[in-house]
Symmetry: C2
Subunit: 195 residues, 2 copies
């Protein structure tokens, strides 16, 4: 009964342990061999489930984006527009701070360089939702005279930046630690609710 030859569900165990490692020690400290050790399995066992390290990361990234999309639509059936945009931005930042591993992986060059079509299209889907929100919001009177391309760049930059500032050790040191959820919403509101 003890030490069965087959682990049982090594695949999911690898993913879970990998996320754990990344959340508490960072992506840099993640190694396939380390995972294998943690799960009491031979050093090459993980390769039966993931062709290589980037492949593992990619799979995690994929579920990360899916969770992101789900999270930013959490309220359910919001119509495209400013309200949905606000929720998406808040949801993105929240997602990033609560799942730094996902956020970090998605920004790993090695992962995105070999991104699967699935992953790419998930990312695209998320992006086009925001583009839609901007154009609809403008039709409803929000910053009607602004170039939508600039609004889009601004939006992406602000959400990505906020997530990074709250996550990245360097920026945390600069911006201080005493920021709560209301502050984040406040910062985003500066953009969404104008002057």
């Amino acid at each position: 009964m003890s030490d069965p030859y087959h682990h049982g569900n090594l695949r999911t165990a690898l993913i879970e342990r990998a996320i754990e490692i990344m959340d508490k020690e960072g992506l840099e400290k993640l190694s396939l061999r380390g995972l294998a050790r943690d799960l009491d399995v031979s050093h090459a066992a993980p390769l039966r489930h993931f062709a290589n390290k980037a492949d593992l990361l990619q799979e995690i990234a994929q579920t990360g984006v899916e969770r992101l999309i789900a999270a930013s639509q959490s309220a359910g059936d919001l119509k495209p527009g400013l309200d949905r945009l606000r929720q998406t931005m808040n949801g993105y930042v929240l997602w990033a701070t609560e799942n730094p591993a996902y956020h970090h992986i998605l920004r790993n060059p090695d992962v995105m360089r070999h991104a699967s079509d699935d992953l790419k299209s998930s990312v695209d889907k998320f992006a086009s939702m925001q583009w839609e929100d901007i154009t609809v919001a403008q039709m409803n009177g929000w910053r009607p005279d602004e170039d939508p391309r600039l609004l889009y760049l601004h939006l992406i930059s602000l959400t990505a930046g906020t997530a990074i500032v709250l996550t990245d050790p360097m920026y945390r040191a600069v911006v201080g630690r005493e920021l709560d959820n209301a502050d984040i919403k406040g910062s985003i509101s500066i953009f969404l609710d104008g002057a």
Copy 2:
């Protein structure tokens, strides 16, 4: 005359080559042994100049921040306030897109984790300049009713985010490639010049 035992200025050669590698192949592809090979020197020679890999990166980061500070003050003696803030933000993004290596290194956890006091205080100096700009700008009537902490978070997030969006492969894919300098200034102006 050929193949002298001493390289002459291995230290600076290492730094230059490292920046070259990072700009064209990314931080991930940088290795001490690779540098040594490129410079026709034994694999352990770099360790005479840098205690370890993070040490090399850190030194590059240090000069990176110094260049950043110099670049964002390029116009010379602007007084604190909105104008200087605008220049700092534009300067930061420009610096990041022109020297992706510096920008990337500064955000490497291994570098900042063991950051020297020099590096930390350079970063602090840059941050406090921006804080000063915000408070002065508010005294001069810019977004006077806003919480300065939120403005600061917003500012840092927007600049960091813009730099990342323009640099990071994943975001580049989302936001498209046809963005020029005017677009960047335009996006920043959305924040600085209100609704």
